[in-house]
């Protein structure tokens, strides 16, 4: 299944994977999502958005399985006591999910398949220009 992604003025498609079905279901139940996407401080070439409520914010950690965030990969870091908001993360280069205390597992949701270059450029720009708006939706992604 595919969903639409828009970052700044660039649009693309995210192909959802089946590695973490409950997490993907929670993402679909949370759409549409409009959020401020900021550059990561600890994790490298990736951006993140806080998700403070809804099914994604209520996920448990049973499907977290990776720390690498490959270019175009969309992952979720589930909420926990130390960080009560979940985070959606999107990679555009070398990235690994890290906290000050070390690596941190995340759950795989999918990968940007269309519009990668333009969206990567938008993500990369946040390191210099500051946050950008991301919208995830079901609109015209098939």
């Amino acid at each position: 299944m595919n969903i639409s992604i828009a970052v700044g003025g660039s649009r693309g498609v995210v192909e959802l994977w089946d590695d973490a079905p409950r997490s993907v279901h929670a993402l679909l139940e949370s759409l549409p999502i409009t959020a401020e996407l900021r550059h990561c401080r600890w994790s490298g070439d990736a951006c993140f958005a806080d998700v403070e409520e809804g099914p994604l914010a209520e996920l448990d950690g049973s499907e977290v399985s990776v720390i690498s965030i490959y270019p175009g990969t969309v992952v979720v870091r589930v909420a926990e006591e130390a960080a009560p908001s979940a985070e959606l993360l999107v990679g555009y280069g070398d990235a690994e999910h890290r906290w000050p205390t070390g690596p941190k597992l995340v759950a795989l949701l999918g990968e940007i398949t269309d519009g990668r270059k333009e969206i990567f450029d938008e993500l990369r720009k946040t390191a210099v220009a500051g946050p950008v708006t991301m919208r995830l939706s079901r609109e015209a992604a098939e």
């Binding site: 900021r38 550059h39 401080r41 600890w42 070439d45 070398d94 690596p103 390191a127 210099v128 500051g130």
Partner: protein, 138 residues
């Protein structure tokens, strides 16, 4: 008398730092010879709550380690000569990159004048993007 560094960020915010030239004589000298420095201050991507500037004149892949620091304190200015990188910590930060989760840099200077607003200006690079940076001898 220790060297002092004048730091100007953005539209003219000024702070000063004491350079640790006794603890890091070779790298403090490298910094002094590189002045004046005009660059772009950007938020780090791997190292936490800090911003950085890349300066070709500070790049030295053969430099010996001096006054090594891995965990950065707010107000610390750290040189990683292998990258020609000066880092300016405003919160919890560490020398890290895509290969390592705990390297070290040279604790080259510490901001001691105008610290509170300096930390706010450095932190602003996270939400507002890059800022012009000017370094001079004070």
């Amino acid at each position: 008398m220790p060297k002092r560094l004048r730091i100007e960020i953005g539209d003219g915010h000024v702070a000063e730092a004491a350079v640790h030239d006794a603890a890091a004589p070779a790298l403090a000298d490298l910094l002094w010879r590189a002045l004046p420095i005009d660059g772009t201050l950007r938020h780090v991507r791997w190292s936490g709550e800090a911003a950085y500037v890349l300066v070709d004149a500070l790049r030295d892949s053969n430099a010996d380690p001096e006054n090594a620091m891995s965990i950065y304190r707010p107000g610390a200015i750290i040189l990683r000569p292998e990258h020609g990188e000066l880092a300016f910590a405003y919160g919890q930060a560490q020398a890290r990159d895509h290969m390592s989760r705990g390297a070290a840099g040279c604790h080259l200077a510490t901001v001691d004048t105008g610290l509170e607003s300096y930390l706010e200006e450095i932190a602003r690079t996270r939400r507002s993007g890059a800022q012009p940076l000017r370094l001079r001898a004070a």
